[in-house]
Each structure stands twice: as structure tokens, then as C-alpha cells.
């Protein structure tokens, strides 16, 4: 009897023993029972064309709802004639990420120039001649991305400083960093968002109003900075002590040692962990909906409250959930790839 290679592999992996065969068959049955109705609902029996709820006649999903609301899911209440600005910022984002992975030296200038440019374009006014679009009109996926990216931009440098602070020689600095990190890691994000939205206006001087969205960004950034700090600390701890000692022997000062020797290596090691924290941040942006900021999930819920589209819960959640899933999955796969490359580079 000749053995066909792939049949043999299949036999070993699925039908090695009677017990394995039974498990495989049970699993196959479950998969079949779940995936067939799902496939029908999602695609085969779904409604694609039309303009209203009445056009959804077949039993599957009513994607008409998502199609009609697509603009809102993406941009919230951002005025339609101005939406090109959001697209432009998106294109700039993609291009700058591509440019940065090509040339590392541009990172610092890009970080100084691009974030304000993004806010400037999105908000308008301030001498651009563009119509002012206030943050209360922002919403949907664009707002989710904005929250995650800007909170991340604050959290990463802050987290690095905190991690350095936690390993500092100076007891007071170390103490302050530990307190900051443990405080923000110890409380639920939902309370932090409440804190930022209710307390921040109270502790600011009268007449100094912090924008609602900015408050949410600050709240999220503090929490994620604390988690980032722990991720960076992991990287710092993985570095052999000799690196710092050698640099000290060369007569380098504290900040130069950190900037030139320690951080470049530590951050490379900490990158996968930091990416995971960023994914957590991205998922947690959904909580801003409790303070009436309409991110992707919030806009989906608001769309559900529309009397013209009652009962579209599954469609709204599946669509929004799929966006989150693909974004988070993509990021985590990228981070795993980096991790593997890192291991290869270290010869492990």
C-alpha cells in the first residue's frame, strides 16, 4: 500500500486513534451546525439593495442599514462637504507610517509636526481658512482612531519616562513613578473616563474649558501610559547591566546613555508588549460612549435608536465588531511577526 503524503498527514493529525476520530467528527459537526446558518445570515440570505427597512424582505442580515448609515459609521456627524479632510488625514497617516518604516531618522520630526497638523486639518479654523468642525460633530470610526492614536502618542513618551522613573536611583522619583503607575493600573477605565469628564472641569480654573474629546484622550492616555511603562520596564530589565556600565565608563551622562544605548534596545524588546497595550487601548476606546462621545460603537447604538431602523441590533454590532476585530487582529499579527524576527535576530 503506497502512502499518499497529504492523506497520511491528515490521518496523523485528525484520525490517529479512535478517540481522535471521534473528537474530530464531533468538532466537524459543531462547526457545520454553526457556520452554515451564519453563512446564510451573513451572505446568502442577506439583503443588499434598497433604501429602507421595508426593503429587507429575506430572512438574512439587512446590510441596507449599514450601507445607508455607512457615512455616519465612518465619520459621525462630520459635515459631508468637509469629509475630504478626514480622508486626507487618513492618507497622511498611512503615508507617514510607510515613510517612517523606510527611514527611521524621520521619527522625531514627524512626531512633532504631524499630530498638530492632523488636529489642525480635522478641526479647521486657526488660520487655515477651513470651516471649523467642532469635536462634538466628530464620530464613528474616525473618532475611534483619533482617540486611540492621540492617546497613544501621549502615552508612549509618558510611559517611557515613567519606566525610567521606576528604575531611577532617586527614591522620590521612583516612589512618584510607582504611585502613578500603580494608581492608574489599579482602577477601571470606566471610572477614569468618568473622572476625566466630571472632575477635570471642576479642578480647572474658571473659564478654562478643556474640550470634551481632549478630556477623554487625556484620561485614556494616563491609564495606557501606566501599562506602557510596565511594558517598557520589561524591556529595560531584559538588558544586561553591562550595557549601562560600559556607557558610564565611556563617560556618558544619564540622558545620553538612555537615549543612545538603553532605550533603542529596550524598546525593540518591549515593542510586542507595547503593541498589546495599544490593542487594549484601541478596544477600550469604546467606553467613551458612556460620556456621550459617539465613537464607532456609540454611533452604532445611536443608529439603533433611530425609529426608522428599529431592530437592526445584530447588523450594527456585527459590522462594528468586525471592524474592531480586523484592526486588532492585524495589529497583533504584526506584533507577532516582529517578535519572531526579533528572536531570529537574537539567534534564539
Amino acid at each position: 500500500m503506497t502512502k499518499v503524503p497529504w492523506v497520511e498527514t491528515l490521518r496523523q493529525r485528525l484520525f490517529a486513534t479512535w478517540w481522535d476520530t471521534a473528537i474530530t467528527l464531533v468538532c466537524l459537526y459543531i462547526v457545520w451546525r454553526i457556520s452554515v446558518p451564519l453563512f446564510h445570515w451573513l451572505l446568502l440570505d442577506a439583503n443588499w439593495s434598497g433604501t429602507s427597512r421595508e426593503d429587507c424582505k429575506s430572512p438574512g442580515a439587512c446590510w441596507v442599514f449599514v450601507r445607508m448609515r455607512f457615512g455616519q459609521f465612518m465619520y459621525g456627524q462630520y459635515p459631508v462637504p468637509e469629509r475630504w479632510r478626514v480622508d486626507l488625514v487618513g492618507i497622511l497617516l498611512v503615508m507617514s507610517v510607510a515613510a517612517l518604516s523606510w527611514r527611521r531618522s524621520l521619527v522625531i520630526p514627524a512626531l512633532i509636526v504631524l499630530p498638530p497638523l492632523g488636529v489642525w486639518l480635522l478641526h479647521g479654523g486657526w488660520g487655515t481658512g477651513l470651516r471649523v468642525v467642532e469635536t462634538r460633530e466628530w464620530g464613528g470610526l474616525m473618532l475611534t482612531l483619533f482617540l486611540a492614536i492621540y492617546a497613544g502618542l501621549i502615552a508612549i513618551p509618558l510611559g517611557i519616562l515613567l519606566a525610567l522613573g521606576r528604575r531611577s536611583r532617586l527614591p522620590l522619583i521612583r516612589f512618584a513613578s510607582v504611585v502613578f503607575i500603580e494608581f492608574w493600573r489599579g482602577v477601571p477605565i470606566i471610572t477614569v473616563i468618568f473622572l476625566a469628564s466630571l472632575l477635570l472641569p471642576l479642578i480647572m480654573p474658571t473659564g478654562f474649558d478643556v474640550d470634551r474629546l481632549a478630556r477623554a484622550v487625556i484620561g485614556l492616555a494616563f491609564v495606557i501610559a501606566a501599562y506602557m511603562a510596565e511594558a517598557v520596564r520589561g524591556g529595560l530589565q531584559a538588558l544586561p547591566e553591562g550595557q549601562t556600565e560600559a556607557a558610564q565608563a565611556l563617560g556618558l551622562g544619564y540622558w545620553r546613555i538612555q537615549r543612545l544605548i538603553v532605550l533603542p534596545q529596550a524598546l525593540r524588546i518591549a515593542l510586542p508588549a507595547m503593541t498589546n497595550e495599544f490593542i487594549a487601548l484601541f478596544k477600550n476606546t469604546t467606553l467613551v460612549l458612556i460620556v456621550s462621545i459617539f465613537d464607532l460603537l456609540g454611533i452604532a447604538q445611536a443608529a439603533l435608536a433611530d425609529p426608522a431602523w428599529v431592530g437592526m441590533n445584530m447588523e450594527a454590532y456585527v459590522f462594528a465588531g468586525a471592524i474592531y476585530w480586523f484592526a486588532c487582529f492585524g495589529l497583533s499579527q504584526w506584533s507577532r511577526l516582529r517578535e519572531k524576527r526579533l528572536q531570529v535576530a537574537h539567534g534564539r
Binding site: 474530530t24 468538532c27 482602577v187 468618568f194 480654573p205 465588531g321 476585530w325
Partner: protein, 387 residues
């Protein structure tokens, strides 16, 4: 002038200066916020202080085991919220650990289909915001359950419907208290027995059927005690009156949904931790165990788990902490935990935002510190002794 500069060059002096500057800066920032807050509150006419805690709350809590009534104080309301947070957290931690370990082990299964399915589960759960799960379970579970009139009945002592699971409760709990006490004593005996058996095995090499013996004295005897207690008391049976089942104990769907969401979500993270921990056990250890002729179950229990534990415990601790904090998502589906009853209801009725937020944060910080302290203690006890 030059002397002063040289003085600044001195490392120790500079360290002190740095710290003094940082301290002054932090105190200044905090003082600035406190001053603004007190000024703003006086100007806005918002009441302050903690006396509101002893006021009548007047807030209904549909699910409590503390015996709380709306005529109780806000402090009582807070306590009920804390108990509910702990209740759902502990239940979810137990189940999330069980699912997490199973999925983590299945992920390493030789069966390709099984490990792929486990992988699907992990990747699905980890990449979707928890809020989706909470809402999905809540509205999904509600939609799947029957209305009270068409309740599912279990032998007429438990009824399941959209208002929750109503279970019969004993009117007299003395018998159960005794049975519970007996159980605790038997468990203590079992622990002593296990120690003795271990010592004996180390001394003589003879194994003692600890588990079988333990099951007989720890499992069957208390079971009989409970049955006896159940026979002697009368029962408060749930009865359909008007709209709902009245009487007995009601497990509300909010609890079930939050519990299900937290345990399935956290299980995905625990599974990854477990997989990583088991992969960290050296291949040779398992091969050696196999060569000694140990059964697969014993290899897992005696070789793999003990060696994987030190790797698993630290990350699993932070997952438990996350779960406790994530129980605050219950606020989104009206589960009366701390955030919902205190930061929600009590805050609106008293308007004292600063005090209420401070208390809530303090509670979570204490919970977090308690969990990590416990885990540190556990970790130090079970650290692998390496040579």
C-alpha cells in the same frame, strides 16, 4: 560663581536638587487643582463632605444578598455594590480559569481540528472589545429565554425566564449552616491527610489513594448532611404570581450576562498565558516522564503544571485584576455593581462627584492591591525550587 557651579556638578547634590524640584512641582500641581476645586464648588453651590453617606438612599437594588432596602443609607448601598462586584468577579474568575486552562491545553492538542478551533476561540475573543460581549450576552441571552409565562421549569423548584433564574430557598437555614461547617472541617481533615500521605510516600515510597479517600469523606458525607438539612426544612418555592415568579432566590439575567461575558472574554487571555507557560516546560522533562511510564494525565498534573505554574502565575494575576476591574462594565447593562449604584445612581441623586469618585477609586485600588498581595503570597509559596 564657579564654586557654585562646581557644587552643582556633584552627583549627589544634583540628585537631591532633582528630587526637591520634582516634589515641589507635584505639590504645586496638586495644590492648584485642590484650590480650583474648592473655589469652583463654593461658587457653584455644590454641597461637599461625606455626610451624604448616612442619608437615606431611596434607590432600589434589584439584586442583592446583603438584605439592603431602599430605606437604608447610601453607605449600605455602597456595600451592596461592593458585594455584587465581588460576587460576579469571584464567580467569573473561577469559570474563566477553568475555560482558560481547557482552551489553553486544547490549543496544544495533537488533533489539528481541535487546536485550530481553540485558536479561533482565542483570536476571536481577544480582538473584540469587552463591551460587545457584555451587550451581546445581555441582549442575546434575553432574546433566547422564554417569557415568565412560558418559563422553563426544573422539577418545579427552579424556573428560568427573562426575569432570571428563580430557585427555591430553604426557610430554615440552620441545618445548612451545620452541613457547611461539617464540610469545612472535612476539607481540613482532607488537607491534613494529603500532607500525611505525601510525607509517607516520601518516606516509604508507598502511595495512598488520597483522592479516593478524600472524595468519600469530603464529598459524600457533606452531601448526605445537606440532603438531611434539606429534608428537615420547609422550602420557599417560586410561584408565578401576576407577572413574575415570587419567592425563592432570583439570579437576575444581568448577573448571568456579565458573568458569562467576563468569563468567556478573560478565558481567551488565560488560555494564551497557559499555552505560553506549558510551552516553556522543556521538552526533555516530558520525554523523561514518558520514559518513566507515567500516564498522560499524570504527566500533565505532576510534571507540566508544576513547572508551568511559576511562568503562568504572574500574568494570570494581572488577568484576574483586569477581570475585577472589568466587572465595572456591568454598569452598561444595569448590573448593580459599585460603578452602577454608586458612581451612577448615588452620584446623580447627591451630585457630590468628587467624594463619590474618590471613594470608588479607593475601593478598586484596595481590591487590586488585595488580589496582587494574595497572588504574591501564593507565588512565593509555589516558586519552583531550582538548583
Amino acid at each position: 560663581m564657579r564654586g557654585a557651579l562646581r557644587f552643582l556638578r556633584d552627583g549627589k547634590v544634583r540628585d537631591v536638587l532633582w528630587q526637591v524640584a520634582a516634589t515641589i512641582g507635584m505639590i504645586a500641581v496638586v495644590a492648584f487643582f485642590v484650590r480650583n476645586a474648592s473655589e469652583n464648588m463654593v461658587k457653584a453651590g455644590i454641597a461637599s463632605g461625606f455626610s451624604f453617606l448616612w442619608r437615606d438612599s431611596g434607590i432600589e437594588v434589584p439584586f442583592n444578598i446583603t438584605g439592603y432596602k431602599p430605606s437604608d443609607s447610601i453607605l449600605g448601598l455602597l456595600w451592596t455594590g461592593i458585594v455584587n462586584t465581588l460576587l460576579v468577579s469571584i464567580a467569573a474568575i473561577v469559570v474563566a480559569t477553568a475555560i482558560g486552562f481547557s482552551v489553553g491545553l486544547l490549543r496544544l492538542s495533537r488533533n489539528w481540528l481541535l487546536s485550530t478551533l481553540a485558536g479561533f476561540y482565542i483570536e476571536f475573543v481577544r480582538n473584540i472589545p469587552l463591551l460587545f460581549f457584555v451587550l451581546f450576552w445581555y441582549f442575546g441571552v434575553l432574546a433566547a429565554l422564554p417569557t415568565p409565562r412560558d418559563s422553563m421549569s426544573f422539577l418545579d423548584v427552579a424556573f428560568l425566564n427573562r426575569r432570571g433564574l428563580s430557585v427555591a430557598m430553604p426557610n430554615d437555614v440552620t441545618g445548612f449552616r451545620i452541613a457547611l461547617l461539617a464540610t469545612l472541617i472535612l476539607i481540613a481533615i482532607q488537607i491534613v491527610l494529603a500532607r500525611w500521605a505525601k510525607a509517607r510516600q516520601a518516606r516509604t515510597g508507598q502511595a495512598f489513594p488520597t483522592w479516593t479517600a478524600g472524595f468519600v469523606i469530603c464529598g459524600l458525607l457533606p452531601l448526605l448532611a445537606f440532603v438531611a438539612a434539606g429534608m428537615t426544612t420547609s422550602w420557599d418555592l417560586p410561584v408565578l404570581r401576576g407577572f413574575n415568579y415570587r419567592g425563592g432566590f432570583v439570579l437576575v439575567p444581568e448577573f448571568v450576562a456579565l458573568f458569562a461575558a467576563l468569563s468567556t472574554y478573560t478565558a481567551g487571555f488565560i488560555a494564551e498565558v497557559v499555552r505560553g507557560g506549558i510551552l516553556s516546560v522543556r521538552r526533555g522533562q516530558i520525554d523523561a516522564a514518558r520514559a518513566l511510564g507515567l500516564s498522560p494525565g499524570r504527566i500533565i498534573r505532576l510534571v507540566m503544571i508544576p513547572q508551568a505554574m511559576p511562568v503562568i502565575i504572574p500574568p494570570i494575576t494581572s488577568q484576574y485584576l483586569n477581570l475585577v476591574k472589568n466587572s465595572s462594565f456591568g454598569a452598561a447593562i444595569a448590573y448593580p455593581e459599585v460603578v452602577a449604584v454608586f458612581m451612577g445612581s448615588a452620584l446623580v441623586s447627591t451630585g457630590q462627584a468628587i467624594e463619590i469618585i474618590a471613594i470608588t477609586l479607593a475601593i478598586y485600588l484596595v481590591l487590586s492591591l488585595a488580589v496582587s498581595a494574595f497572588m504574591n503570597w501564593y507565588n512565593s509559596r509555589h516558586r519552583l525550587v531550582t538548583r
